[in-house]
């Protein structure tokens, strides 16, 4: 069973499958929109939907490393870049619903909002920090930066995920169950890394670029 799974992981089709999986939410959103099932406030619905999936994909991306080690499935690394880029794609859509319908594409209006409101500030910060990660996600950039520096840069995703959880928590009026759940998952994922780094002081890990 395990061998079969390992083989499956390295097959090129597994990447296609993960790619399609990441597109499912978008397809679902499209279907809902087509059926007119996006509530009386479609902008808000799409905004919340894309925000939810940004956060979920960030958490899934952050689960790759712990799962690789805990399940001894190092090949899971093949999906990490794609998952991260999909998280960024949903974040872009989420940002578009804000800069467009909410701010009428006014940069000055957006900037005033970002500076004034902590809830928007953290969301915006989380988004901005993802941009360098998306830009340097290629093999070429890993080579140019060097594995160690590249890895250090990409730890910014921890900050982004934290921003995402806080952004969500501050948005909600009184029913905090979901933001707290995401927060707990993020805490577990970060705690794993902390414990892992404390337990075994290892030589520098070479970053394996996604194939």
């Amino acid at each position: 069973m395990r061998d079969f799974f390992r083989k499956l992981l390295v097959s090129k089709w597994s990447k296609v499958a993960v790619f399609l999986f990441c597109l499912l939410p978008l397809g679902y959103l499209g279907l809902r929109a087509y059926q007119g099932e996006v509530t009386a406030n479609p902008v808000e619905y799409i905004q919340h939907f894309t925000g939810d999936w940004t956060l979920r994909l960030l958490l899934i991306t952050l689960s790759v490393t712990p799962l690789r080690k805990l399940l001894s499935l190092p090949n899971l690394i093949r999906f990490r870049r794609m998952l991260g880029l999909f998280a960024f794609s949903y974040a872009c859509l989420h940002f578009l619903t804000y800069i467009g319908p909410d701010q009428s594409f006014s940069l000055s209006g957006m900037w005033k909002d970002v500076v004034k409101r902590p809830f928007v500030t953290v969301g915006f910060l989380g988004f901005v920090l993802l941009i360098p990660l998306a830009l340097t996600s290629t093999k070429g950039w890993i080579r140019r930066l060097g594995g160690k520096r590249w890895q250090a840069l990409h730890r910014l995703i921890y900050v982004t995920a934290l921003c995402g959880v806080v952004h969500y928590y501050w948005l909600v009026k009184s029913d905090h169950r979901l933001p707290l759940l995401y927060g707990a998952i993020l805490a577990a994922l970060l705690l794993y890394r902390l414990v892992d780094s404390l337990l075994k002081p290892r030589p520098a890990v070479s970053v394996s670029p996604a194939s």
């Binding site: 808000e44 809830f119 029913d175």
Partner: protein, 320 residues
Amino acid sequence: MSIHKEGDLTYADVTPRSVYFNRRQILRAMGIVGAAAIGGRVVSHLVSPETVALAGAKLNVTVKSPFSTTEKPNTFDDVTHYNNFYEFGTDKGDPAKYAKNFRTSPWTLTVEGEVKKPAQYSIEDIVKLAPLEERIYRHRCVEGWSMVVPWIGYSLSTLIKLSEPTEKARFVAFQSLYDPSQMPLAGRAGIDFPYVEGLRLDEAMNALTLLCVGMYGESLPNQDGAPVRLVVPWKYGFKSIKSIVKIRCVKGEPPTTWSRYAPTEYGFYSNVNPYVDHPRWSQATERRLGEILKRKTLMFNGYSDQVASLYAGMDLKKYY
């Protein structure tokens, strides 16, 4: 002469609790099944629980109010599927799903406190108490969306006057029904129930303040606060308390659900005010349901002519 002693009765003689509580529904269902069997009537009524018999009933509206806006009302579908009614869940779509079987009949509304004539009204009394008016109001939620709704009812002052508030009455406190057995999702909301609200007596007596029993020509749908709610159009939507069971005239400012939950975010007054932001988001603009871009929010939600004088000399940044 033989007299039954209490001991002669067993539990088998007692109507089961569930049957007792649902007796009207059971009787009605039996009646409808009978009628359907005999006359082959429309069977759709079979699936309509008792409450639907009340919600959706046509109301006899005789007055078109001068307070009505000429703006285009939102669709009935929008107003019944995008609701904040936390007793029935916190998602906007939850109330439409989970308030379906909410029992709104029989219903008793009590008026009490600092009044000379405390009173109790059935919902049938309430509907007949005064000529029903249609009032098309703008409705602005504290979350930054708005809609236009053709409500039906009459000024709350009509009801309050009947009970003759005493000299001591300065505020009016309102309370919603809270029945956990009918509101299983209420525990997740994060706020305390029963939901309570309040107005200053002069706000409550203002002609705009509507005691509302219907909308779109019909009695109120459950998810919109059936069978009787308040509509205070110049204040954020959460002040317009739903499914009211108690109205109490009081001396001091009564506690209100949202300001008790987060006093720095929601004040007692909560007048719509584009110049006083919520600590977490702007109140300068709003999205009208059905529109993409936001529009400017108006002071007192556009009802300054009627209500600005109530707050003359008050610092509305302090009394938000």
